[in-house]
């Protein structure tokens, strides 16, 4: 039995170390399902979450990229963040508020943030105040500088999100020549003998 136990514990250790627990999402979305079996790439992913209340959230996986992107966007809008705030920001999976409000959000403790999360207004993306594209561009260049890898754009939409919002996100990105999107979906079984 000892060798088996040894192996079992080895595997336990392996899985424990390799598992990345998903950080608590700012917003919960129920994605629609599709038969696609392509997996989302492990890293270099920018996630744009669209929820059913027309809000758009921005998120990028790597903490370093997040910090650099924050600094770049902050510089553009004349907002300052302390090193501690930036560190705190790197722990947040996604953000859905104008850059001006992020500072005070970062100063809150975890419990207070949970209260605010439900009322995050979403990243502004209209033509006059398009912060979403700034975030995406900043995250792309930061990721390229740090990891030398291109980024994937994933759109994680709620099933009940309305199409105009999603199309607006796509249009905004297309204006910057980003034409490839990954729509995050749940898995669904392929219908049997549907194609012939």
């Amino acid at each position: 039995m000892t060798p088996m136990v040894d192996l079992a514990f080895l595997l336990v250790t392996f899985f424990m170390l390799t598992t990345k627990f998903a950080p608590e999402e700012t917003v919960v979305v129920d994605t629609p399902s599709s038969i696609s079996d392509i997996k989302l790439p492990e890293n270099n992913v920018i996630t744009l979450t669209v929820d059913s209340k027309k809000r758009v959230f921005f998120g990028v996986d790597a903490p370093q990229t997040k910090i650099q992107a924050l600094q770049k966007v902050a510089a553009k809008y004349g907002v300052n963040f302390t090193a501690a705030q930036a560190k705190e920001f790197s722990n947040i999976p996604n953000i859905g508020m104008p850059i001006g409000q992020i500072g005070s959000y970062l100063n809150m403790d975890k419990e207070a943030r949970k209260q605010v999360n439900a009322q995050q207004p979403g990243v502004p993306l209209d033509s006059l105040n398009n912060q979403l594209i700034d975030w995406v561009i900043a995250a792309r260049t930061a990721n390229q500088a740090i990891f030398h890898k291109p980024t994937y754009i994933a759109i994680k939409g709620d099933g009940n999100a309305d199409v105009p919002t999603v199309q607006k996100v796509i249009k905004v990105l297309q204006e910057k020549d980003i034409n490839r999107f990954n729509l995050i979906t749940d898995m669904e079984n392929k219908p049997v003998a549907a194609a012939r």
């Binding site: 039995m1 088996m4 136990v5 079992a8 514990f9 595997l11 336990v12 899985f15 424990m16 390799t18 598992t19 990345k20 627990f21 998903a22 994605t31 629609p32 399902s33 599709s34 038969i35 696609s36 079996d37 392509i38 997996k39 989302l40 492990e42 669209v50 994933a154 994680k156 939409g157 709620d158 099933g159 009940n160 999100a161 309305d162 199409v163 105009p164 999603v166 199309q167 796509i170 297309q174 204006e175 020549d177 034409n179 490839r180 999107f181 990954n182 729509l183 995050i184 979906t185 749940d186 898995m187 669904e188 392929k190 219908p191 549907a194 194609a195």
Partner: protein, 178 residues
């Protein structure tokens, strides 16, 4: 630990005499149970953590010197995603201003396996070169959009595009009152 050891030795029949001689083996079963429980837990969480994605490639931004691709009426098929998970579709082109083109007949179906999928499969058999224009209206949900793109994959459509819904098509829906 020592308690477990003491209990462990009483398992045998004639254990009384040998009770003083402590066994060096401990019962590992609960530990192994726990180990396997953890193993299963971590294995399952790792595999399910990564979401699936559906790839969507939009056309490159239009420059002025490139003209729109003209679609032949015989190859065109339009799918309009409407309110309440309704799917409207028609074959050919809808150009009310051009009197030479007959007004297309608008039909309605749903997202079930016997709905739009059968329509697409029949169409593909009749016209293998079909170009499908998907037009989600403002009332449709994101789920509908993903569903219809999924149907494109299921039915192996070669050419399809996600386009804006023009006013003519909205008028057509209104006029047909489906």
């Amino acid at each position: 630990m020592s308690e477990i050891q003491a209990k462990d030795t009483s398992g045998g029949k004639g254990g009384k005499k040998r009770a003083k001689k402590m066994s060096t083996k401990i019962d590992m079963t609960p530990m192994v149970d726990l180990a396997f429980l953890l193993l299963t837990f971590f294995m399952l969480t790792t595999t399910f953590a990564k979401p699936n994605v559906m790839q969507l490639t939009m056309p490159v931004k239009k420059t002025d010197d490139v003209e729109d691709t003209k679609i032949k009426a015989s190859e065109a098929m339009t799918i309009i995603l409407g309110k309440d998970n309704k799917v409207y579709y028609y074959f050919g082109l809808n150009t009310p201003l051009d009197k030479t083109v007959p007004k297309p007949e608008l039909l309605v179906t749903n997202f079930s396996a016997s709905g739009i999928r059968q329509v697409l499969l029949t169409r593909l058999r009749q016209q293998p070169k079909t170009i499908i224009l998907i037009k989600p209206t403002e009332d449709s949900k994101y789920r509908n959009m993903v569903d219809i793109l999924d149907e494109m994959n299921i039915t192996n459509q070669k050419k399809y595009a996600l386009v804006k819904v023009p006013k003519d098509d909205l008028d057509l829906i209104k006029a047909s009152a489906l």
